[in-house]
Symmetry: D5
Subunit: 160 residues, 10 copies
């Protein structure tokens, strides 16, 4: 059994019951909906109590439940051909240089974590057309300069 086959089965069941993701994520609950949907689409792991609830909801076998609890081989093809996904790719392509400059100036030498990272999607009502509001928050991870001797900053935080 491959993870893609489980994803396909889950989407078939969702379609059959005419369930929304909102319904599914509220039934399973426990963590951010991004993580639940990500796991059902094969990009995230569901921790045991949630894998159990997902299995109950979708009527999965015990083996399928265990697979949902496994860490998948993450990642989807890039560049994305789908317009909704491509726009995110384009944001990074066009704005990336400025993001790098500003984050490094504010925080020092390091990165924003893609692992200790949360994202919320909200609708922002607007008379000119509603907006998609994404709030991302990732831990700043400073480069660690190993072997730092006295008087030498050990981490890539902002230097005075």
């Amino acid at each position: 059994m491959k993870r893609e086959e489980l994803t396909e089965k889950i989407l078939d069941i969702k379609r059959e019951h005419n369930w929304s993701w909102k319904y599914i994520t509220s039934e399973i609950g426990g963590v951010s909906e991004i993580i639940i949907v990500g796991a059902l689409l094969g990009q995230m792991k569901l921790v045991k109590p949630l894998a159990r609830k997902a299995a109950a909801l979708f009527g999965l076998s015990e083996l399928e439940e265990r697979m949902l609890n496994e860490v998948p081989h993450r990642g989807s093809p890039m560049p994305p051909t789908d317009p909704l996904l491509y726009r995110f790719f384009e944001m990074v392509m066009v704005n990336g240089p400025a993001w790098k400059a500003l984050i490094e100036e504010e925080f020092g030498d390091g990165i924003m974590s893609a692992i200790d990272f949360d994202l919320q999607i909200e609708r922002e009502p607007n008379p000119k057309g509603d907006r998609v509001k994404l709030t991302m928050s990732g831990k700043f991870l400073p480069y660690k300069y190993y072997g730092a001797e006295q008087g030498v900053p050990e981490l890539g935080y902002k230097e005075d």
Copy 2:
């Protein structure tokens, strides 16, 4: 003269004066700092009054000022090799499928605009390590179904 040469010159001057981006963007002002830095790095256009201020600050020629006012050929190489930029790419690669599912369920058939789009970078103090907070807001653009007859939704907004 190529836009890259202008960018290199601007970075040389910034280094010579030991200016921060914060100083530069507050001197030029007028729009979001992402746009100013993006323009100075060759990814955005600076509108005329701001191009004038940038030229004054950096001591640019009139031709260079005009170039800053031109729409550049946007985009930087992908996949990004730089770790800070790659993490954003990875977020799209890993979370993209879930974002697509949730945005389409909430908004209908369409995309989040990468053109009518704002982003703010903030420091989120946190005892376990400060966090980078990015707030993105993009207009939702529903697919327009041309030729829609009576009784047929004309836009890819959420169907009942």
Copy 3:
């Protein structure tokens, strides 16, 4: 069930009945034929009333009807190897720089939307050989310059 399998099934039925796309789109109706054909080939969503008509015409199951109503993962492989499609690719490759220059001069900093976008295909009789006439109309989306202060243009429309 994958969207490609539904597409293959639809093409099999079309072939069996010897139906033309003209017949199919006139039976389903309701929106531009480009959108109907696009949806049947797996690139567009059919809104509910049309998905119902398509299902009736092709004798699809309720689950297949629902799949037609879903937003697909859009996009086909590029560069296209098929000569008919490649010619469009070539037009962008050869003429793109001029299009960019002229559109930006006329409209300002922004893009022509590929979402709020209509296209008509017509036969243009011509004694030297009929011509394919494509009329495309897309909303101009100006870059929004966030944080614009007084006296600074807020949108990438044409500056005086």
Copy 4:
């Protein structure tokens, strides 16, 4: 001398004089503005009388004038990273399959020429936001079936 160097020089002169493409194309005239701009950007040939006018306008040397009259090595990098150009690429990627189906059904087996091909860009005023209107007209070129014997269609026009 390379064609790119001539393009860069022409753009420098355009910037110096603050000329618009409209002004330049009306000064040179003689053919569609897409072709003139394309040639100045290094993608098209300017026929002799127009190369002469372009050289006079930009103060080019005789050798540069001759270079404008040469057929360049056409094509720009794909996929385009610039958002304005990418949207055209996306249209082909998403709508290509439907275009192919509909053009072949209407015209038969063949292609729309990218050589005997005209394109017009117009502003379409619209209260919800002006639109970019592109009218493309390309000669339909039917596949020629060589060696066609009596009773066999010789060209890929629509079969009854």
Copy 5:
């Protein structure tokens, strides 16, 4: 049913009967053998009378006959890994620049059509080893310069 599956079936039948392409193309006849073989391998359309003959020869169903009459999605993977095919690719790669220079000098600005195009393969007996002789003939398609005013060449034929 996919076109590749039909191709595989046709090759199985050919192998079973130990038929040569010569036999097959003489049985179907009507057009150049390149086109018949191309269609059976999934790259060309067979017009109706020939699709009927092919179906009779191979004992195909009516649906398979109709599929042979459809325009396929053309193109095979490049660069070709097969040595016989690679040599043609190499010829274009090595000699292309000279071909472009000479064809444009002789004919003007335009291309040799790959649509209205015929190719013959012959054996050229030679005491040092027989040779493959390919005779290609394609219509020259001059670039059309739209909007050409009086005194300006309208087509990319050779200028005096």
Copy 6:
């Protein structure tokens, strides 16, 4: 000195004198014009007597003459972005499978040489539009089956 720089210099001199390739190849003579033009464009070697004539014609230094006599690093970027060159690429992509089938049936297991290979370009007058006629002739090189014992064909010529 790089071969590209020599090519650029030669094209500059050709432009300055307004020479045609026909003139240049007739002045240098000695071999097929494809080879002469190919060498001047950096894809072929000119043998010594011809390199000498080319050097005399273009006023090249002795070192440049020697460079023309060297075997260059052959090959140009693929896929070609230029429409004239792309059409040849497309021919191989679309017709390649049929060429392979027919050549192997007629000649056996082997290839058409791209080294012992001649090509002629001619204008074929035609009332519907002149045609480009390419006549290619390449030696058939049969695969050699080493270690062939008695009764086993040693070469990939056609088996009875």
Copy 7:
């Protein structure tokens, strides 16, 4: 039936019988073992008498025997991910420029044939660790300079 399926079947039978390649090639015999193994792995044609022996050994059907006698679509994916194969790729990548320089100096303008080409693999005992000895011998194919007039070398052999 696809050639890969035949290869997979042959490997299954080889595994079942615990046969070595040495055994298989000695049973089939007739040509170099590289060619036999290559054919069984889908990269070479087996001539009829050998295809018959291979079919007898592996218990293949008559259709499978015929497929072994067909010229396959040659080539495997590059760059090779397998370390054993990658080392050969690396040799070409690192030493290629020197090989080209030395072969062309010794032989003139041409190539070493990959068609009329033999390779032997031997074990070379060595106290520091046995060595793999590959002896390759390929016919030198000089570039043919067509249209060579008197006094001009006709072939790319070494010039005096």
Copy 8:
């Protein structure tokens, strides 16, 4: 000034003085030699006190010293063509799947940081040939499951 130019200058000076990396890193000191060499080769930032020492050693200008203190655009081309570097790439390609399985089993869902990461290179004397010993130590970063409610693990550490 570009970072590559500074790297080239530094390598020129190193060559001129016949300095070893060992000498250079001991002169600059303060952090791990990997970081110092990485910074001089344009992949790392040198913190201020070290940039000052590097500038003194190499006789760099103040601007060059500041550039060494900047975070560079990290990353070098992949796949590496150089054999020494390729072997590391191959290790990941061949052993990656096993590393992923074992690290996730021991640590849970997460990654080994490439930011808070140290590496030591040592010579391991060995009578059969000395060995390169690399000791890598990276912080394990567990995936954070945002929105984790009571009873649900919040981090991708190993579940019981």
Copy 9:
């Protein structure tokens, strides 16, 4: 039977029994766990006694046991999309140039073997968060300079 199918079967059995890799590798034993897991995932060969034990543990057929004993076609797709694997890729991309410089300075001209190579994964407890410790040890393989005459170093070891 393909190696991927065997891998999929093994993972299904592992999941069914809820076995850890630790349990599996301790049951099979005999060599480093990296090699056992690598073999079960299709990247390594298991020597006969271990293949036998693996077959007993997983209840594999004799043919499957033999397949485990075969050398597979090694390698997995690069660049890795999975974050855990990508971090290793990034380490090579960012630190590779420094590794090359330091290894060559210490050892001379050569590489660290990826064949005679061992790797250990350990947990390094740390109050700030446990760390992944990888200890790699690979034989240094000096470039061999063939044909070395007296007085010339024969191996790429460090020159005095």
Copy 10:
């Protein structure tokens, strides 16, 4: 100074003096001519006594001499566009699978070294056309199975 610039300079001097590689390698001597030519083309290191001789022959500066003694960043672009080089690439692509099968059967699990590796190029006179003979000899490097316990083969040599 970059290694490519040194290579270009060396080729200019070689051309100026009309030297052959044979002359150059006999003047420098000391190791295989492949290594000398490889080093002069920027792919190999010349050990000190040979770098000194090369510098004397070409009249290089001391810094250039030192650069010849450095290990270069090895590798040239793949796939090679040059026909002579491509044929080697094709040999690996077509024959690679058979080489892998036969080498592994004869030697066991391992590779042929590309580091401890010698290659000789010879002319093999032949009445049907001289042949290029390449004799390659590389040390067989068996995979080392770390942690091998008693009774388990430690190296990937051939198992009984």
